[in-house]
């Protein structure tokens, strides 16, 4: 067994834990991240400058009150949702949610195949760029009724570009053994620079200060129904995302390709034994992963910006957190994306009313991954604080399954039990 396989064995553990355990783990990780994030907010507030401290404890005063930060975050994400369910804040939250569904799915599908696709960001950039270029080029040709085709065309272009860019690190891994974590990260940098070059050299919007394309034809824009124009949220894109979620769930659970993919992710050696073409599976799952990210990029262009612009927000990295929070389960991506969408849109309100910088989301993004990665932490914590008669409840709180097998497979003489 090579070391690379071993790396993936940890991932297996992450994928394998039961549904309820995963839910508990994600919840516990979220709570822990919010607590640690609150501490960070408080302490950073002691270094910030403000007119009068907002919060003090044990003689330490801080410019930020962590409790009000989080309450502003939630109200900021939902607005007055009870009186006006289609208010601007909700639209903002759902906009972020929609984008995160795509990148979340992107990371999740690769994860299930045992691959760490950190390159969703680059694939999203390429997808967005390809989508913008396609609709800009096809726009003048497809007028009138033909304009109807622009959106699907743009999405398709995004998916293809993302898939191709995802297939590159897949092929490098399958045929040259290059670790996909490193190559995808490198390709993120490359995508950024190439997009910058392509836009500034060939598609720059005239008279623009930033590096961006011209506006796409209005027929290609995903319109904001229900939530009023200018909300940059299209219910069509959101529903499209949900359809993809269902599609990916079906693919993983009910098709032979999905079986191959899951087997490769859990135990590559067993997959090879079972007749899975490992190389093809790696390339195709990376391409699929890239396609999801590419669609995310297309939606970002067609729904949010109405053009392609360099300096793409870090939706791909957020997708890692969303996927990990979702236990890499497509169905879990929806609530996880919603949650992260709340964080992202709420943090805007937080910055406005409390002065805590929006970069807080970036901190939470990392913290959540860290906590989800250590179920053992919550298990030990549970043991410490909960009396024994409640232990079973704690075990689902993210603890790993206690081995039900007797250690005969490893603890005693059984030579076949080596793992």
């Amino acid at each position: 067994m090579s070391a690379r396989d071993r790396i993936e064995s940890g991932l297996r553990r992450l994928v394998a834990a039961s549904w309820a355990e995963r839910l508990g783990l994600s919840f516990a990780a979220l709570v822990a991240s919010v607590l640690v994030g609150g501490l960070i907010v408080f302490f950073s507030g002691t270094a910030a400058t403000c007119q009068e401290p907002a919060y003090g404890v044990f003689g330490l005063t801080s410019c930020y009150n962590p409790i009000s930060v989080y309450s502003v975050l939630v109200t900021g994400a939902f607005g007055s949702i009870l009186s006006d369910p289609f208010n601007f804040n909700v639209a903002l939250t759902l906009k972020e949610t929609t984008l995160l569904i795509f990148t979340g799915l992107s990371v999740a599908v690769a994860f299930r195949a045992g691959l760490f696709n950190i390159g969703s960001q680059g694939q999203l950039i390429f997808g967005g760029l390809a989508s913008a270029i396609t609709v800009l080029t096809a726009g003048p040709l497809l007028t009138g009724v033909g304009g109807f085709l622009l959106v699907p065309l743009g999405v398709l272009a995004g998916a293809l570009a993302g898939a191709l860019y995802g297939a590159v690190p897949g092929a490098l891994k399958a045929y040259a053994g290059a670790n996909e974590v490193i190559t995808t990260i490198m390709l993120n940098f490359v995508a950024e620079q190439i997009a910058f070059f392509v836009v500034s050299a060939y598609f720059a919007a005239p008279d623009s200060q930033s590096v961006e394309t011209s506006e796409i034809p209005s027929a290609a824009v995903l319109e904001s129904a229900l939530f009023g124009s200018g909300s940059d949220f299209s219910i069509v894109a959101f529903v499209g995302g949900l359809v993809l979620v269902a599609g990916l769930y079906y693919l993983i659970k009910y098709t032979a390709f999905g079986f191959d993919l899951r087997t490769s992710g859990l135990q590559p050696e067993a997959a090879r034994f079972g007749g899975v073409d490992a190389k093809r599976t790696i390339v195709s799952s990376m391409a699929l992963s890239g396609a999801f990210a590419g669609i995310g990029g297309a939606v970002w262009v067609l729904m949010v910006l109405g053009r392609f612009q360099t300096g793409v927000p870090a939706l791909g990295f957020d997708g890692i957190t969303v996927s990990i929070l979702a236990g890499n389960n497509p169905l879990g991506v929806v609530p996880a994306a919603l949650l992260f969408g709340v964080l992202k849109s709420g943090s805007l309100a937080v910055q406005l009313s409390t002065g805590v910088p929006i970069q807080l989301v970036g901190v939470l993004r990392g913290l959540i991954i860290l906590f989800v990665a250590m179920p053992e932490f919550f298990r030990l914590l549970g043991k410490q604080f909960v009396t024994t008669d409640r232990e079973p409840a704690v075990a689902t709180d993210g603890g790993e399954q206690t081995p039900t097998e007797p250690p005969s497979t490893g603890g005693t003489d059984d030579p076949g039990g080596e793992r």
Binding site: A3, M186, V190, I320, T321, L360, G366, M374
Partner: protein, 361 residues
């Protein structure tokens, strides 16, 4: 000879073939440039061998080489530290922040106080990583990514809190130390002995790293811990302790690299996008893979990657070649990918990535 045999023979000698091939190409290009100084190759040669480019290459190699040596210790001990990037980011920021905020302590210049603080920050973060991986048995890759993403979020967050922008204000650099006599040597003098103190530190890190790994019992324990931790455990050496030490060491060394970047070269922290570290931590990983886990080899690879970066920076300054700068900037990253694809099948320490607990069978 069959295709299969040929392929396996190729794989075996690939690293050498690659190294010789690269060297050969460089020599050929250099000869061509010497003979035809008026051509573009001639220009490139002049550029590449100019004192300023070589000096820049060494300076730019500091964060990569230091993080790479740190990464070698962690991975040789059996813990893949993919969070080197995060360690560089946190130390780069903390170094500048503390220099700015604290100033001199006990008549130690503020910038050196900041230097120590930056290294300390990276060490603490690596200790967190160690606890998460060893005590809480987290998956090493995911925990490493978390370390990276936390630093990537935290540094710009803190910068914005304190400075109102993701970039800090400027605090000046450590300057250069000119070593008398040696710096007078022709050509090598000004490059090697009239450099930033962080460059000297890098030499110390590389040489010291090699010595510790190959000549001390700690180094042997580190290697055994990554190859067969159980052998070490049954020989009565505490594997957990060795791993904690190795990871912490990777934090200290990466910290030197990170502070070397912000205080040694730029004098401020730049926090937009991927921050000023810009993937150097990941490049460091490829550097030590290319260097086959040998600190000296990793240093060579670091200088190669940094040299490409330095050349790229210089190329941008020459208007004669209308190569778009954004494309030139991709060169180091693409090279890293190519190198990784060619040496992808390195002999990774057998137990790297594995959790180990004494008494587990």
């Amino acid at each position: 000879m069959s295709v299969g045999r040929l392929r396996s023979a190729l794989n075996g000698g690939l690293r050498h073939a690659l190294a010789y091939g690269l060297a050969g190409l460089v020599v050929l290009a250099a000869l061509y440039g010497l003979v035809f100084p008026e051509t573009m190759v001639g220009d490139l040669l002049r550029l590449a061998t100019s004192k300023s480019t070589l000096g820049a290459a060494l300076r730019l190699a500091v964060p990569i080489a230091c993080a790479a040596v740190g990464g070698i210790f962690a991975e040789k001990a059996g813990v893949i530290n993919i969070g080197l990037e995060g360690l560089l980011i946190i130390s780069a920021f903390t170094g500048v922040f503390v220099t700015d905020a604290v100033g001199s302590v006990f008549s130690i210049p503020g910038i050196w106080v900041g230097f120590v603080a930056g290294v300390l920050a990276s060490t603490l973060l690596s200790l967190l990583f160690a606890v998460v991986c060893i005590k809480f048995r987290a998956d090493q890759i995911i925990a490493g990514l978390a370390v990276w993403l936390i630093a990537l979020g935290l540094a710009p967050f803190a910068a914005t809190v304190v400075y109102g922008s993701v970039n800090t204000s400027s605090v000046g650099t450590l300057g250069t130390w000119t070593i008398p006599v040696l710096s007078e040597l022709p050509f090598v003098g000004p490059v090697l002995f009239d450099a930033s103190p962080t460059v000297y530190l890098m030499f110390l890190v590389v040489g010291g790293g090699w010595y510790v790994l190959n000549r001390t019992s700690f180094g042997r324990h580190v290697r055994a811990s990554g190859e067969n931790p159980k052998a070490l455990d049954t020989a009565g050496v505490d594997v957990t302790r060795v791993r904690y030490l190795a990871i912490t060491l990777s934090g200290v060394l990466s910290g030197i690299g990170g502070v070397g970047l912000s205080l040694g070269q730029v004098g401020q922290f730049i926090g937009n996008g991927q921050t000023m570290v810009n993937g150097k931590g990941f490049i460091a990983i490829v550097a030590y893979l290319f260097g086959n886990y040998n600190p000296l080899g990793a240093f060579g690879a670091s200088v190669l990657f940094a040299g490409l970066d330095a050349l790229q920076l210089r190329l941008q300054q020459i208007p004669a070649y209308a190569v778009p700068s954004s494309l030139v900037q991709t060169i180091p990253y693409v090279t890293v990918i190519v190198v990784l694809a060619l040496v992808g099948h390195t002999r990774v320490p057998s137990a790297a990535g594995d959790h180990y607990e004494s008494g587990e069978d």
